[in-house]
Amino acid sequence: MFETIVDPTVGPAETVERGRPSLAQRPESLAGLRLGLLANTKRNAEQFLADVGRELADHYGIVPVVAVKKPNIVETAPAELMSELTEHCDIVVAGVGDCGSCSASAVADGILLEQAGIPAAVIISDAFTVSANAMADLRNAPGYAYVTTPHPVANLTADGVRARAAQAVPGIVALLTEPVMAAASA
């Protein structure tokens, strides 16, 4: 009846690759694997990941080798940071998605790493699961799994960050070793 109404959502030809992204194969054991940390610029993010790295090194025999901070919380990590991670690391932990745009872009980073063959665990604060899931849908990875930590992260003390990181570790280990991704079934 209203066919003559113009659909305002129709843009230029699709720029996103369609089809489900393939996710990286999971290792049987984490021992000896080289770990990359991909932080954003949110307050406490680097510290959170550093603490995660230490926990993983102490308890799982992982070797932290690269720690980078992406310059822009909105966009995915630039190509040079991505290649630094994919060239030198076997697994990556990324985060912390503790704002509107960075939660979505952290998920996008995780999916890009998976597509490059690197198992990744993304940490999102629990206030931002909606935007994280929206990005997963946008990237054709509905059900993409990540680790949540209670919001907020920015106001935690150093001790608070350390405790939070320790809490997140079991979930991170599970994501890096078990085939938990809904999108992996493709």
């Binding site: 109404i5 843009g11 230029p12 996103v16 509107g100 979505a104 872009s105 931002f128």
Partner: protein
């Protein structure tokens, strides 16, 4: 499909409901756009329909001129507003802060300032009630930007958009500069566009707050009042600085102009006087990175945009609050009209 039958008013209402059902509106009714409407918009601009005017690579979305036209019509724009919409979009887009703005918890609004003869030709309000409501171009040009973000980029509230509280009138902060009552050159001249040329300037802002000061004829007293609001700690978001600008009512602008202040003098005065004691900052939990001496709350004199708008019927002005750490790029965008 509704049971509107052949009653034209019922049909029109059904078309509006259809747009709601598609998820295309910002909550208010939209004007359904047809291909003829889009063509009418395209006839006003030298830009081709399929030109891409904005991209969000991380979302995999881009926006074309034709798509902007459909959204402008939906917002309630007349086709002849469209060149101003495109200039406003460009002005917003080239502000660095716009990259993350649409998804931000801050939920910032574009502040759109129009200069030049187009203000009178399109009846863009720059006098009484410039912040609105009541004037079609002011209300709809800003709204068009919001609909392009929603429908073009797919950024919707409580989905990819994560505004904590949002902002009243987020998509309707569009005003003309009251060049006629300003003691200074148009803002667009500061922004690099020759005087007399239609132009749009934009920043992303988090709020506006008033300064009501009708009780003095001292320029310095009024400036002191402005500096106090500009130095408000709540607007400070850590990092290097907060930022602020002014939409001066004509009475305040003329008081300053008559006292010999140029725009740059006002900026310099405010930069030097909008300071806080680091101890006060610390008491509010914001004492990191503020040093020992009086802490300057604003990034630089040039980064305090000063606009003149409103009526000369009471001595009041507005401070506006830029989003993030951003200061205005200082670049205005000329409005491009298709040569007839």
């Amino acid at each position: 499909m509704t049971s509107a039958g052949t009653d034209l008013v019922e049909l029109a209402k059904a078309a509006i409901e259809y747009c709601y059902d598609q998820g295309w509106t910002d909550g208010l009714p939209v004007v359904p756009a047809t291909a003829a409407d889009v063509a009418a918009c395209l006839a006003t601009t030298p830009h081709p329909a399929d030109e891409i005017i904005g991209s969000q690579p991380h979302l995999g979305r881009s926006v074309t001129v034709a798509q902007a036209a459909a959204n402008a019509i939906m917002a309630g724009c007349k086709p002849e507003y469209f060149p101003v919409v495109l200039a406003a979009w460009q002005a917003v887009t080239h502000e660095r802060s716009s990259r993350g703005a649409w998804q931000s918890t801050s939920g910032p609004a574009p502040l759109i300032v129009v200069n030049g003869p187009v203000r009178t030709r399109l009846r863009i309000n720059y006098a009484g009630g410039a912040f609105g409501p009541g004037f079609r171009p002011n209300a709809t040009i800003g709204r068009a930007i919001g609909l392009i973000v929603r429908n073009g980029y797919g950024v919707r509230p409580q989905e990819l958009e994560q505004a904590t509280q949002g902002l009243p009138g987020r998509w309707s902060v569009c005003l003309g500069e009251n060049e006629e009552m300003s003691p200074w050159e148009p803002l667009s001249v500061v922004g690099g566009v020759p005087a007399g040329v239609d132009a749009v300037s934009a920043m992303l802002i988090r709020t506006v707050e008033y300064i009501d000061n009708r009780s003095t004829d001292s320029a310095e007293a009024v400036l002191t009042d402005f500096a106090d609001t500009l130095a408000r700690m709540g607007a400070y978001v850590g990092g290097p600085h907060s930022s602020g600008g002014l939409v001066l009512g004509p009475e305040h602008a003329q008081l300053l102009g008559n006292a010999g202040y140029r725009r740059t003098d006002v900026q310099q005065w405010l930069f030097e006087h909008a300071v806080r004691d680091p101890a006060e900052m610390a008491a509010a939990g914001k004492g990191e990175h503020v040093g020992d001496g009086p802490f300057r709350m604003l990034p630089s004199a040039e980064a305090i945009p000063i606009v003149v708008a409103g009526a000369a019927n009471a001595a009041m002005s507005m401070v506006f609050r830029p989003f993030g750490w951003a200061a205005w790029t200082g670049r205005s965008v000329p409005v491009e009209w298709k040569e007839q």
